[in-house]
C-alpha cells in the first residue's frame, strides 16, 4: 500500500516529467508509445511503402522469366512513354471516368431521395434500412453472378420482361451499345444504399429547431427542403459524392465477372487493364508503370480534394 503510493507520486508528476526536472518524457512512456504504434508502421512500411518502391523499380525494367530465373533489363522511362500510346489504357480511363461519374451521380440522387423518404416516416425505418444495407455487404463477385443471370440473353429476367411487353430481347452484356450502361446499372444497384446510409446519417443530425421555426413561419415542405435541408446538407452531399467517385475507380469484381472488359473495349476499366497487363499478359514492368500512374493520379486527387475542403472548412 505505502509502496504503491510512492510509486503513484512519481508517475503523477506533471506532464510525465522525471523527478530530476529534465524535460525528457519518462523512458517507459516513450517505450510504450513506440511499441504500440510499431505494428501499424511495420505493416504500412512492409506492405504498402515497400511494394510502391518495388513497383517503381519494376516499372523501369523489362523482366523476362527463363528457367525460373528472372532477368532484368533497365529500360528507363520507356514503359511510361508507351502508356500514352496504349489505346486500351486510354479507353479504360475514359470508360472509368464515364462509369464513375454517371453511376455516382445517379446513386447520389436516388440515395438522397431514399434518405429523405426514410427520415420522414415513423414506422418501418429499421426494416427499410436493413433491406437497403444488403447490397453493400454482399461480395461484389456475387453481385456480378446475380446480374449475369438476370442479364442473360437466353433466360435472363430482363429479356423475359421485355418479351412480355413485346420488346425484342437484347444482349445486355454482349452488345457494345448496352454493355457499359449495364455495368453502370449494376453499380447503381450495388452502391446507392451506401449513399443512402451516409446521407441518412447526416440528415438525422440536422438541428430540428430550424424546421420548427420554418413551420411556424408557414413554410411548405418543398420550401423547407429547398431552403433548409439542401443548404445544410451540402457539405455532406459533397463529401459523399467525392468519396464515392474515388471509390468507384476501384471497380473490378463486377467487370471481371460480367464482361471481362468486353465486348471490344466497351467496358474496359482501369483496374481491369492493370490486371490484364500485369498478370494475364505477364508484363510486370509495364503493369507496374500503369499501377504507379493510377496510384499517383488518385493520390493527387485525394490531396487536392482534402486541401480544398480544409480551406472551405476554415473560412466558413
Amino acid at each position: 500500500m505505502y509502496l504503491s503510493s510512492t510509486e503513484n507520486a512519481r508517475s503523477a508528476s506533471p506532464e510525465g516529467l522525471v523527478e530530476n526536472g529534465s524535460l525528457q518524457p519518462l523512458n517507459r512512456d516513450r517505450f510504450w508509445r513506440n511499441l504500440t504504434l510499431a505494428p501499424a508502421i511495420l505493416l504500412f512500411l512492409a506492405l504498402t511503402i515497400l511494394p510502391m518502391v518495388n513497383l517503381a523499380v519494376l516499372s523501369l525494367h523489362d523482366i523476362d522469366w527463363a528457367q525460373g530465373l528472372s532477368s532484368w533489363t533497365y529500360v528507363g522511362l520507356k514503359h511510361y512513354a508507351s502508356l500514352a500510346a496504349d489505346s486500351l489504357f486510354k479507353a479504360s480511363i475514359l470508360n472509368t471516368l464515364v462509369f464513375s461519374t454517371v453511376a455516382v451521380s445517379v446513386q447520389m440522387v436516388l440515395g438522397f431521395a431514399l434518405a429523405l423518404l426514410t427520415s420522414s416516416i415513423v414506422h418501418g425505418r429499421l426494416f427499410y434500412r436493413t433491406v437497403f444495407l444488403l447490397p453493400i455487404l454482399v461480395p461484389g463477385i456475387i453481385i456480378g453472378a446475380i446480374w449475369k443471370l438476370m442479364f442473360s440473353f437466353d433466360f435472363g429476367v430482363l429479356n423475359q420482361m421485355a418479351g412480355a411487353i413485346g420488346i425484342m430481347p437484347r444482349d445486355w452484356l454482349g452488345d457494345a451499345t448496352y454493355s457499359l450502361a449495364s455495368i453502370i446499372v449494376v453499380d447503381i444497384w450495388h452502391w446507392t444504399p451506401f449513399c443512402f446510409l451516409l446521407l441518412l446519417a447526416s440528415l438525422e443530425t440536422l438541428p430540428q429547431d430550424v424546421y420548427e421555426a420554418s413551420d411556424i413561419d408557414g413554410a411548405t415542405r418543398w420550401q423547407s427542403l429547398w431552403y433548409i435541408t439542401i443548404p445544410l446538407m451540402l457539405p455532406a452531399i459533397a463529401v459523399t459524392f467525392v468519396f464515392r467517385l474515388i471509390l468507384a475507380f476501384k471497380v473490378f469484381d463486377e467487370v471481371y465477372l460480367l464482361t471481362g472488359g468486353g465486348p471490344g473495349t466497351s467496358t474496359e476499366v482501369v483496374s481491369f487493364t492493370i490486371f490484364r497487363r500485369f498478370f494475364t499478359e505477364d508484363r510486370p514492368g509495364y503493369g507496374s508503370a500503369m499501377s504507379i500512374t493510377t496510384f499517383a493520379f488518385i493520390a493527387l486527387m485525394i490531396i487536392v480534394v482534402s486541401a480544398v475542403t480544409r480551406r472551405k472548412g476554415s473560412t466558413s
Partner: protein, 279 residues
C-alpha cells in the same frame, strides 16, 4: 378532424409506397438468385415461374468430387477471421498510441492521411508488387500471405474508426488510471478496450465482411489450395459452359455470413459505415 388527418396519412402512404418499391427493387435480384439456386438447369433456361425445387445444385456444390467449394469456404473463414483479429489488435494499439500518447502532429496526420489514400486506391495497383514480393520470400499461395494482405487492406478503415472511438474516451479516466499506477498494458486492457467495445464490434464485423468479399487480391495471390469463396464464384463464370444453377447455389451459400451479420448486428454495421463520414 378527419379532414385534418387525411392529408398527412395520404402522404405517409405515398412515402411507404415509394419505399416499398425501392425495397422490392433491392430484394428482387436476391430472390431471383435464390430461386435459380433451387432450379434445374432446364427450368432456369425455359424460364419457368413455377418449378419443382431441387437440392441438387447445393449437393453438387458441397459434395461433388470436382467441387472445391467446402475448402474455399473454410479458407475464407480462416483468412477473414485471422485478418480481422490482427486488424483489430494493430488498429487499437495504433489508435491509442496516436490519440493518447503525444506524438508530434505530423505523425498523426501522415498515418491518417496515408490510410485514406491507401484505402481509396484500387487494391489491384499493389497486387502485382505483393505477388512478386511474396513469391520472393515464399509467401505466395499461403494463408500467411493472404492474411497479411487483407490485414493491410482493412487496416486503414479500422485505424480511422478506432481512432474516432479512442478519441472519445474521456482523458480523465486514463489520467486517473495512471495516477493509480496502471501501466500502458493495464490501461489498454481495463480502460480503453471496455470503452471502445462498440468500435471493436463495428470495425471487426466490417473487416470480416470486407475480407470475405475481397476478390482481386486473392485472385492474384492464391492458387487452388488457398482460394477463397469469391474466387470460386469467379471460376464458375470462366468455364466454357457455365453451370448457372450451381453458380447460383454457391452464391447463395456465400452470402450467408453477410446476411447473418446484417440480421444480428445491423447497429454496429451502420455505425461502422458512417463513422468518420459524418464527423
Amino acid at each position: 378532424m378527419s379532414a385534418a388527418y387525411s392529408a398527412p396519412l395520404r402522404s405517409t402512404l405515398f412515402r411507404h409506397g415509394l419505399l416499398v418499391i425501392a425495397a422490392a427493387l433491392v430484394l428482387f435480384p436476391f430472390l431471383w438468385i435464390v430461386a435459380a439456386a433451387f432450379k434445374t438447369q432446364i427450368s432456369l433456361l425455359t424460364g419457368q415461374l413455377l418449378f419443382q425445387p431441387t437440392l441438387a445444385n447445393f449437393v453438387n456444390v458441397l459434395f461433388s468430387s470436382t467441387s472445391d467449394y467446402v475448402r474455399n469456404f473454410s479458407n475464407s473463414l480462416v483468412i477473414a477471421s485471422a485478418s480481422t483479429v490482427l486488424v483489430l489488435v494493430v488498429a487499437t494499439l495504433a489508435a491509442y498510441s496516436l490519440q493518447c500518447m503525444q506524438w508530434p502532429s505530423w505523425v498523426l496526420h501522415s498515418m491518417l492521411g496515408w490510410s485514406v489514400i491507401f484505402h481509396m486506391v484500387p487494391p489491384i495497383t499493389l497486387a502485382g508488387a505483393w505477388y512478386s514480393m511474396f513469391r520472393t520470400i515464399g509467401l505466395d499461395n499461403t494463408y500467411t500471405g493472404l492474411i497479411l494482405a487483407h490485414t493491410t487492406l482493412n487496416l486503414p478503415m479500422a485505424l480511422w474508426m478506432m481512432g474516432v472511438f479512442v478519441r472519445d474516451v474521456p482523458k480523465e479516466l486514463i489520467e486517473a488510471a495512471k495516477i493509480d499506477g496502471a501501466g500502458t498494458p493495464r490501461i489498454l486492457r481495463h480502460v480503453i478496450v471496455p470503452l471502445v467495445r462498440p468500435g471493436l464490434a463495428a470495425a471487426g464485423i466490417l473487416s470480416f465482411i470486407f475480407s470475405w468479399n475481397e476478390f482481386a487480391v486473392v485472385l492474384t495471390l492464391s492458387q487452388r489450395q488457398t482460394a477463397t469463396v469469391p474466387v470460386a464464384i469467379g471460376k464458375y463464370a470462366q468455364e466454357n459452359t457455365i453451370a448457372y444453377t450451381e453458380m447460383a447455389a454457391a452464391s447463395v451459400l456465400s452470402m450467408m455470413p453477410a446476411v447473418l451479420l446484417l440480421l444480428i448486428a445491423q447497429r454496429f454495421i451502420v455505425r461502422g459505415l458512417t463513422t468518420g463520414a459524418v464527423k
